[in-house]
Structure formats: C-alpha cells, structure tokens
Symmetry: C2
Subunit: 182 residues, 2 copies
C-alpha cells in the first residue's frame, strides 16, 4: 500500500485523508513556516517544497484560506492571524451593516511525490458571513453559512458539515489523480 506523508499532526485530518485517499497516510510533527502571500497556491506550494526538502518522501500539505468579498479577499491565507486577533466576534464587527457578506473558503492541497513534481488540488465552499457568531465548532465555523443553508457550520451536525467540506473536495480531486498514477 502506498504511503504518503501529510504535513499535520491533527488526528481528525489524518483520518479524513486516509478514508478519502485509501492509502496509508502518515502525519509529521515537523513544523515549517508559511510564507506571507495572499495567493494560497503560493503559500501551500512553498510549504510543501520545504517539507519535501526535509523529508525527501512523498508529502502533501493542506492549507485553508478564507476570502471575504467585502474585505477584498482578506484574510485569505491570513485567516489564522485574524482568528487569533479579532476572532469571530471581531470579524462580524468588521462587516457590521455590510450588505455584501459573501465569502469563499478554499482548501489548497499540494502534493510533491518526487523532486520537481508539484500537484495542486483545490476545493471550495461558498457562503456568507453571519451577522453574529452562532453555534459551536472549530475556528470560523460559527460565522460561516454555506450556500444553501440558513445555519452556520457551528449550528449543523458534523455529518451535514462534511457535505460542504472544502478539504474533502480537494482530497477527492487528489484521490482521482492518485488513481490515474497508480
């Protein structure tokens, strides 16, 4: 069975990747800095390269960006910094009174099977930013209403949420690519 490295130590993410890719997926505690850029493909690709340089094994990284239209695309790849500084309360405050509330969450997976080969797989979910945080959940779940729902990711079940998972969408594209290769 093929063995791929995934640049995470998050058990949930590893399990999800294993179940979608149907290969052995091994996490790595190696920490690599992310570069400053509003381009999620640049961020993920450079991160993957650094991991590959260290590990010299087939490795993929996955990175989530959140593009809020009223903020001209911010925070994009800087979503973690926004969560740490403003949090969900602060982000909805920035959009107070705004009619334009659309947002796209993008998962970018970059896979480097060997030196010089870089494959990019993107999964997106569109939605709107809620007027205030609602429900529980991880990160920006409480303020993200996926298109077709009235509830935030924080208010729906994990099963419902998984239907919209931008990470699952990116991993499924990756799976298709792997099938052709294997």
């Amino acid at each position: 069975m093929k063995k791929l490295y995934f640049a995470t130590t998050n058990e949930g993410k590893l399990k999800e990747a294993k179940s979608i890719l149907k290969v052995e997926v091994v996490g790595t505690p190696l920490e690599i800095d992310e570069v400053q850029s509003m381009d999620p493909i640049e961020v993920a690709t450079k991160k993957a390269r650094l991991y590959f340089e260290k590990l010299r094994k087939p490795i993929f990284v996955e990175d989530v960006s959140v593009f809020i239209k009223a903020l001209n695309g911010l925070p994009g790849p800087y979503i973690d910094a926004f969560m740490k500084t403003l949090g969900n309360e602060g982000i909805v405050k920035l959009l107070r009174g705004a009619n334009e509330r659309s947002v796209t969450a993008q998962a970018t997976v970059v896979y480097i099977p060997k030196m010089g080969v870089e494959e990019v797989f993107i999964g997106e979910v569109e939605g709107t930013i809620s007027d205030k945080p609602r429900g529980e959940g991880f990160g920006w779940d409480p303020i993200f209403i996926p298109k077709g729902e009235k509830k935030t990711f924080g208010e729906i079940t994990l099963e419902e949420k998984n239907k919209y998972s931008m990470r699952a969408k990116a991993l499924k594209k990756f799976k298709k690519w792997l099938e052709k290769e294997m």
Copy 2:
C-alpha cells in the same frame, strides 16, 4: 570602511541607512520570502537569517509593522497585504465610527554580522488613524497622524515626517551598537 549589506534595492532607504550608520551600505536584489507571523521580530529575524545563509556577509533587514489597536493589532506585519487589498480607503472604512483609533508603526531592524549573532533594533512611532485619507505620500502615509500632529504623514513635508521616522529611530539604535563594536 565597514561594509554592510541591506536587504533592499530601494535607493531612498539605502541613502537613509548610509547617512545614519556612517558606513558603506550595499543593497541586494536577492528576494527572500517573509514568514507568516504577527510577531515582527520573528518575521525580521527569520528573513535576516535566510539572507545571511545566502550571502554569508554582514547583512541587515528592516521591516515595518502597523498595529491598529481597534483591530487588536492587525495588520501588524501584514500591512502590505492590507494596503494591496483594502488600501487606505478600505482601512479607514474598517474603523468607521470607532473612537479607539490609536496605531503604532514599528520598524524592526535585524542585523546579522556573523553566524549565530542576531541583533534587533526597534523604532516606533505612535499615532492615530485619520477619518479619511488626506494628502499624498507613500503607502499608509495619508491615514497616519503621528502623535503631536493634526496632519497625516501625507500632509506634512518630508522633513517634518523624518522627525517621526520609526526607521530612523531603529537605525540610530543600530548605529550606537555599531559604534560600540567598532
């Protein structure tokens, strides 16, 4: 005469550094990615290390962060991304109606004279974000009112502005350190 490398190609910055440091200052067109972090010292130090690894010559970098209190410190080191996406108009819009308008601009200089030595010099200027962009000037000049002024950096002369320069403050600390070393 001592020769230092400065990680910039900006003629104005090179001239300023030369005039304050009283040493030969040589620019470099080498481009190095900046890491994602809200800590300006981490950003500047990691950048300086990468430059030093490539050049193996005494090198300093200078990086500006802008901490807006009402945004809990954002954009910080991500000021370039904020300028490119929101611009000055967008930033003042984020603060519309806010009473808390204070802001700190910080220049962080990191100098690596040789492997294992990293010196950090910080210059700060405090101020407030104007209600709208006023005047001309570079970057966020039109929305930054330094403490003690009623005008933005965009409305005062370069000579007046230089009194407040956070970069000059950091470079002067660097100069003092160099004097002790030489």
